[in-house]
Amino acid sequence: QDARARLDAFTQGLEGLDGRFHQRVFDADGRLTEESSGRVALSAPRQFRWEYERPFPQLIVADGDQVWIYDPDLEQVSVRPQSYEEQQSPLAALIDPGELDRQFRVSDGGSADGLHWVVLAPKKAENPQFTEARLGIDAGGLARMTIADPLGQKTEIAFQNWKRDPDFAAGTFHFEPPEDVDIVGQQIDRAEITPLRP
């Protein structure tokens, strides 16, 4: 079975995922510049939660309409329409398989490091969010995601102990800004979605 077939088997009928991530970022010279970890949760069709725990707390919640980014140390919440954020992360394509082929040219990356690799190249030519992303699949499903950005920086995210279709606690994909924070960005009402520059 090639990597794509394994990925499809993993995402087949998937309603939700909950697991841990460990992220490492390397600069263009291959030097490790960041190591962080936390929780990631996804719920079909377009909700996700990315919670950095170490070395610093930062919460990102996509509730289906908007993406909230909360930095407790900076006492700031930024909010954007979700349509813009979605192209940023191949993760969203995991729980919305149609999205994978719509956004990316998918090819087989063979196997390495004990994983079977799917290679994603953005179809959107101008200002792509990344030059290439690779999804590493093993028996447990998506084990690793690597992203190369136009400046030669590489982000590598390893995933552990995925729980498939968990029943999420209420509010997992909902965000209420705390009292004393700055809220920046554009809060949209349901009807109107406007893209924002980075």
């Binding site: 970022v25 960041e34 940023q88 950005d149 520059r197």
Partner: protein, 188 residues
């Protein structure tokens, strides 16, 4: 690390405190190469964003990289020998001589880079800065160029270095949370 309580008794700056501050600034000036890694939040009115920041200073040359959450999509501002370039933003590399102007034109974000390079280390950028000192004789608030810079947290090093710096001018805000005071490889 000690967290200065929000209501600090900011004693009026007196000679001894100012002398200590000048000594601290002289010590900092003797270290032209420094760097930090952390997070930055920038806002202008209700527009803004946040991300990861890596700041490497070598005398007047500086390389600042900012990266978005999750995908770490990044862009860099580099000044070398007086020439400034802004790379990685949509629309390709931009060139100029003033980093603040270059970034503002590309993103609408106002970051006073030169002054911030001093403020982030707990120092005045120019002679017209006014400081209110906090309990341990460290700057609590600094006023300069129309900006108000609040030092919310310091580390336990000697001399102490800022960990959280909140700068504000009219409806522009720049907030920094320092994770590590040198951008060498993180110790796992």
């Amino acid at each position: 690390c000690a967290t200065a309580p929000r209501q600090i008794d900011t004693r009026p700056a007196d000679a001894a405190l100012l002398a200590a501050q000048s000594a601290r600034e002289a010590a900092l000036a003797a270290q032209p190469d420094w760097s930090f890694v952390g997070r930055i939040a920038v806002s202008a009115g209700d527009d803004g964003g946040s991300g990861r920041i890596e700041w490497r200073q070598h005398g007047d040359d500086v390389a600042i990289r900012l990266a978005a959450p999750v995908t770490r999509r990044s862009w860099s501002l580099i000044r070398e020998g007086g020439e400034v370039r802004l790379e990685g933003l949509d629309g390709g590399t931009r060139y100029g001589r003033d980093p603040q102007v270059l970034l503002y034109e590309a993103t609408g974000w106002l970051i006073p880079f030169d002054a911030l390079g001093a403020w982030v280390r707990g120092a005045r950028a120019g002679a017209d800065a006014r400081i209110e000192f906090g309990p341990q004789g460290r700057p609590a608030t600094l006023h300069e160029g129309g900006w108000t810079v609040d030092y919310r947290e310091w580390d336990a090093a000697t001399p102490a270095r800022p960990l959280r710096v909140f700068a504000e001018r009219d409806d522009a805000r720049v907030r920094l949370a320092i994770e590590r005071w040198d951008a060498a490889t993180p110790t796992p």
